[in-house]
Each structure stands twice: as structure tokens, then as C-alpha cells.
């Protein structure tokens, strides 16, 4: 039961192979039994899940046709859930129980999906290995000595360990696609503005975007159909009709032009990872696509621009955590300033502090033009690279990450080495484009991902291209070894 996709579960529920309550209980039992190994869940919501499952069973009995009705899923602990602790992986919010649901959480409730619990993540989504979580690192189900990627490492590990058929996630610089790559999953970061950010705890507001982590492109399409919506409560939400992403999965991709950016295959890319990605591109050739080398000449500036813009926005966003209205407060503060400083000093982890300080520096008097303004200018150059490329090609492909999953502690001491982990994914966030990662083979018995980047609002095309690949190959069916 736990190896099934959302599409299969939807069918089984209607054929009465099992009820939503039964599959929900099955997953809850697995989480209890197996998750101590992976640490993918921060909170399980057993009572809520069973209650939602029973309600879904009633809806199914009345002929509900939403494919998510009765399907259990996990939410990244960055999405506010009414009455359920939402920690964002931080000591700061260890006691935070939001009095409202994020818009996407509400969307899934309306669809009849069942919430299994909240999954682990890097603190405030800052990290690429899940090592910065207050709740301890998440283990990669493929190799428990290795990281699952981050920041959505709990989402990815839960799906890869079959402790949920799908999970919600968020991506500011690669936090959906890189864990998808390292855990052998399909992960989609939609166009900026496609999915509401309301109730998603903000890291860098001009880059943050929610998306799904699933086993197949078909499931990602099902998840996105419900996740995407126009939301007046998010001022950057785009008022544009949400198409049925499942309707175009089987469109013919013959004749599609695929651009291969030469900058994504240079120094720093693990040779075997590059070989798997090239083999996947060969497969697209067989499917009738035209392959064309392109250039994205400002790629090398993406990581530097990101580490100005993201910290600057994070320093502003995280100023709300002040020990006054919610979250952690230090003991016996001497005065108001002491309350702020010690509450923040005691409850934020090292990486979060580092980024707040870098952002504070970049925005401080006299430095704004040299850092923030300059980075926003470079951001436009990076976007223009893509605009030019999409005049010539339909879709861009390359590696998602430089290598398969790395071992715990191997980059922990050097923040820059960790930052470079997102070298192929960050440009997409800076440009606001949709990006997707699908498994394309194994290196050292660990998965590697093929990344696809589409034009604005081309999620349907990305999912279509991914689905066609998954129809003609079986990389996405590979599961972690020794899985119980």
C-alpha cells in the first residue's frame, strides 16, 4: 500500500480496495515504526489525520471525484497549520501553534487530503542538507550516512522512505529540487506567484515559492492542481487561471527544442552525475526532441547575487521574531533591548544568525547601492539570459545538483561549500521561473536528478516532458535499498 502513487491510491479508494482511514492508519503505523531512523517528521497529527480520513471516506462514498480526496500527505513545517505546532525547524517557534491555516493547507483540506503531520526542514529553510534543523538532521533513506538535501529534506525523506505518498515543500534557492535529486523524487518549483505564499513562513519573499515533492510527474500535476490558486491575501500572487496540469501530461513532445546550457556542465560537476544527465538528454532525443547548446552567460553571478538578496530579505522578514507576540522569549530580560537580543540570540541557530547579519550589513547605511542594488541589477541580467534562451528553446535541461547525496558533516564547517550546492538551482529562483527535478539514474547507489527549467507559467510543459520520460524509462521507480 505504501509504495503506491497518489494516482494509484485515488483509483484504489474508489474501487474500495481499502478506505482512506485504513491507508491513513497504515502510514501512521509506518511513521511510528520507521521514522526514528530517518527523523523526517517533527510532528505527527494522528487524531486529526484519522478524523480527516473518516470525513474523506464519507465524501468518497458520495462520489467525490477529487483525486486527492482521502489521500494522506505531509506538510513541510514551514506552512502554518491551524491548531498544529509549526516550528519552521527552529527553537524560535518550538512552541508556536498558529491560529490559522496557510492558503495551500486550506486548499488541500478542501480537496479532502489527509494531513499525516509536519515534516522536518533546515531552520527557516536556510540550508541544503537539513543539518541546521533544531530537531536534528534528517537521514537520506538511500544511505543513512548521507544528507537528504535541504531545506525540504524532511519532505523528501518522508516520501522516499514511503512514510507519505507526497509532501508539500518550498524552494527559495533549490530547496525542493535539490532534495528531490538527492532522494530520487520528482520535485517542482512553480513560477513565482503561481502558488500563494500566505501562511508560509517567509525567508526571502521575492524568491520563496511552494511546490510538491512526489514519486512521479503525474502526482506532481495532481498536487499542483490543488496547491496553485490566486490568493488576494498574498500581494505577489498572480491572478491567472490555473490549468488542469494532468490534462497535458501525455501531449506529444516530439519537435520540442531542449536547450543545454554549457555553463551547467563545467568545473564542479561530478563526472558520473554529468554522465547520467547526458544519458537522460539522449533519451529526450529518442523521444523526438531537438537538442541545442545554449549559453546562460551570467550563471556564475547567481550564487553571489543570491547571497545578497536572500540574506537582505531574511534580515527584514525575521525581525518579526522579537519575543513579544509569539515564539521564544528569554528568561528574566533586564530591559526591552535585552529581551530582543537574548530571545533572538538564544533561539536562532548559527546559519540563521549568519544570514541575518550578512543581510543587516548589506542593507546598512552606505552599503545599500554596493550590495542590494547591485545584486538586483545582476538579477535582471540573469533573468535576461533566460528570456533570450527561451526565444530559441522550449525547455532547458541540466543537472539539479553537482553530485549525489554527501555525507553528514562533510560541508558543515564551510558555509560557502554548502552555498555552492545550489549553483544550478538558484538562477531559476532569481528569475522567478518554474523548475523541476526528476530522477535520471544512480551514482554509487544514490540517485541523481535531471533538472528542467521552463518559461514563465510553463509548469504544464515541464510536467508533460517529465511524464513522457517517466513513461519510457524506470528511473523514478527505483526505491531506496533495504526499505521496510
Amino acid at each position: 500500500m505504501h509504495a503506491k502513487t497518489i494516482a494509484e491510491i485515488a483509483k484504489d479508494l474508489r474501487n474500495k480496495e481499502y478506505s482512506s482511514e485504513e491507508i491513513t492508519q497504515h502510514y501512521l503505523d509506518r511513521i511510528k515504526r520507521l521514522d526514528p531512523t530517518y527523523n523526517s517528521y517533527v510532528t505527527t497529527t494522528e487524531e486529526l489525520a484519522l478524523e480527516q480520513a473518516r470525513a474523506a471516506d464519507q465524501r468518497l462514498a458520495q462520489g467525490d471525484n477529487n483525486p486527492l480526496c482521502g489521500v494522506p500527505i505531509a506538510h513541510k513545517d514551514i506552512f502554518c497549520t491551524n491548531g498544529v505546532r509549526t516550528s519552521c525547524g527552529s527553537k524560535m517557534l518550538d512552541n508556536f501553534v498558529p491560529p490559522y491555516d496557510a492558503t495551500i493547507v486550506e486548499n488541500y483540506k478542501h480537496a479532502g487530503a489527509v494531513t499525516l503531520g509536519k515534516v522536518n526542514m533546515d531552520e527557516f529553510a536556510m540550508g541544503s542538507s537539513n543539518e541546521t534543523s533544531y530537531y536534528g538532521p534528517v537521514k537520506n533513506p538511500w544511505n543513512t550516512n548521507c544528507v537528504p538535501g535541504g531545506s525540504s529534506g524532511g519532505s523528501a525523506a518522508a516520501v522516499a522512505a514511503q512514510l507519505a505518498p507526497a509532501a508539500t515543500a518550498s524552494d527559495t534557492g533549490g530547496s525542493i529540487r535539490q532534495p528531490a535529486s538527492l532522494c530520487g523524487l520528482t520535485g517542482l518549483k512553480p513560477t513565482y506567484g503561481r502558488v500563494s505564499r500566505w501562511g508560509m513562513i517567509a525567508f526571502a519573499s521575492s524568491l520563496d515559492q511552494a511546490g510538491p515533492l512526489t514519486r512521479t510527474a503525474e502526482d506532481a500535476a495532481i498536487m499542483l492542481n490543488t496547491m496553485a490558486s490566486y490568493d488576494a491575501k498574498d500581494s505577489t500572487s498572480i491572478d491567472k487561471e490555473v490549468p488542469d496540469y494532468t490534462a497535458t501530461l501525455n501531449d506529444d513532445i516530439a519537435g520540442m527544442t531542449v536547450g543545454i546550457p554549457k555553463e551547467y556542465f563545467g568545473e564542479g560537476l561530478n563526472a558520473e552525475t554529468g554522465a547520467r544527465v547526458e544519458a537522460a538528454i539522449e533519451e529526450y532525443k529518442k523521444l523526438g526532441c531537438n537538442i541545442k547548446e545554449i549559453s546562460l552567460p551570467h550563471t556564475h553571478l547567481a550564487v553571489p547575487a543570491y547571497y545578497v538578496i536572500a540574506p537582505a530579505e531574511c534580515s527584514a522578514n525575521l525581525s518579526r521574531f522579537d519575543g513579544v507576540r509569539y515564539g521564544y522569549r528569554c528568561e528574566t530580560p533586564a530591559d526591552l533591548n535585552d529581551l530582543y537580543k537574548r530571545s533572538r540570540g538564544e533561539a536562532f541557530g548559527d546559519e540563521v544568525k549568519r544570514r541575518i547579519l550578512v543581510g543587516t550589513y548589506a542593507l546598512s547605511a552606505g552599503y545599500y547601492d554596493a550590495y542590494y542594488r547591485k545584486a538586483q541589477q545582476v538579477r535582471r541580467l540573469i533573468k535576461q539570459d533566460f528570456v533570450d534562451a527561451f526565444n530559441e528553446v522550449d525547455i532547458i535541461m541540466g543537472p539539479t545538483a553537482t553530485s549525489p547525496a554527501f555525507e553528514f558533516g562533510s560541508k558543515g564547517a564551510d558555509p560557502i561549500a554548502m552555498y555552492l550546492e545550489d549553483i544550478y538551482t538558484i538562477s531559476t529562483n532569481l528569475a522567478g521561473l518554474p523548475g523541476l527535478s526528476i530522477p535520471c539514474g544512480l551514482v554509487d547507489n544514490k540517485p541523481v536528478g535531471l533538472q528542467m527549467i521552463g518559461n514563465y507559467f510553463a509548469e504544464g510543459k515541464l510536467l508533460n516532458a517529465a511524464h513522457k520520460f517517466q513513461q519510457s524509462t524506470d528511473h523514478h521507480q527505483a526505491t531506496a535499498p533495504n526499505l521496510d
Binding site: I238, L301, A305, V358, Y361, S364, K374, P415
Partner: protein
């Protein structure tokens, strides 16, 4: 980035940094600034800064009450409140 600069930044950001961690913070933040200094080599003459990927502008809504007052729900999760107010250490003597 030296110890005094880190101390000043930490004060601006209202984050207490313990004495034992100042040197580590100074060295890692210096590394980050070295990384971002690569931007200075980029020719951005005449390039307008990009604030939104789709160059969207801020939406406005009518100035009307649209949400219920949920003060009690919000104050229930606060560290300290009294009579509907948030409590902090004395600010004015």
C-alpha cells in the same frame, strides 16, 4: 570584518552574540562577503534593478475592514499578556 564590526551588526540586528562565537562569526561572514564581492566585476551600467520577476506592481485594495478581530486567539500564543495588551519589560521610567 573585525570583532567591533560584528558587535555593531549584532546590535543593529538585535541578536546577542556570545564572546566565544564572535571570531567564528567574523571569519565566516568575511567569507560570505568575499563571495558576494564577485558582483562588483559585473557590468551593470544602465541596468534597472529587478524587484519582481514579472515586474508586477503592488496591488491595492479598498480601505475597508475585511478580517474579523481575533485578538484573543493571537494573544493566546504570546509569551505574556495582560488585559488584552502584550507585556514587555518597562520601557519608560
Amino acid at each position: 570584518m573585525d570583532r567591533s564590526e560584528i558587535t555593531r551588526l549584532a546590535e543593529l540586528a538585535r541578536i546577542e552574540i556570545t564572546d566565544a562565537t564572535i571570531d567564528e562569526a567574523a571569519s565566516s561572514i568575511t567569507d560570505v562577503l568575499k563571495l558576494v564581492d564577485q558582483l562588483q566585476a559585473a557590468d551593470t551600467e544602465g541596468v534597472p534593478p529587478m524587484a519582481h520577476p514579472l515586474d508586477a506592481t503592488q496591488k491595492l485594495r479598498a480601505d475597508q475592514v475585511s478580517e474579523d478581530n481575533r485578538r484573543e486567539a493571537f494573544q493566546a500564543i504570546a509569551p505574556a499578556t495582560e488585559d488584552g495588551l502584550y507585556l514587555v519589560p518597562k520601557v519608560i521610567d
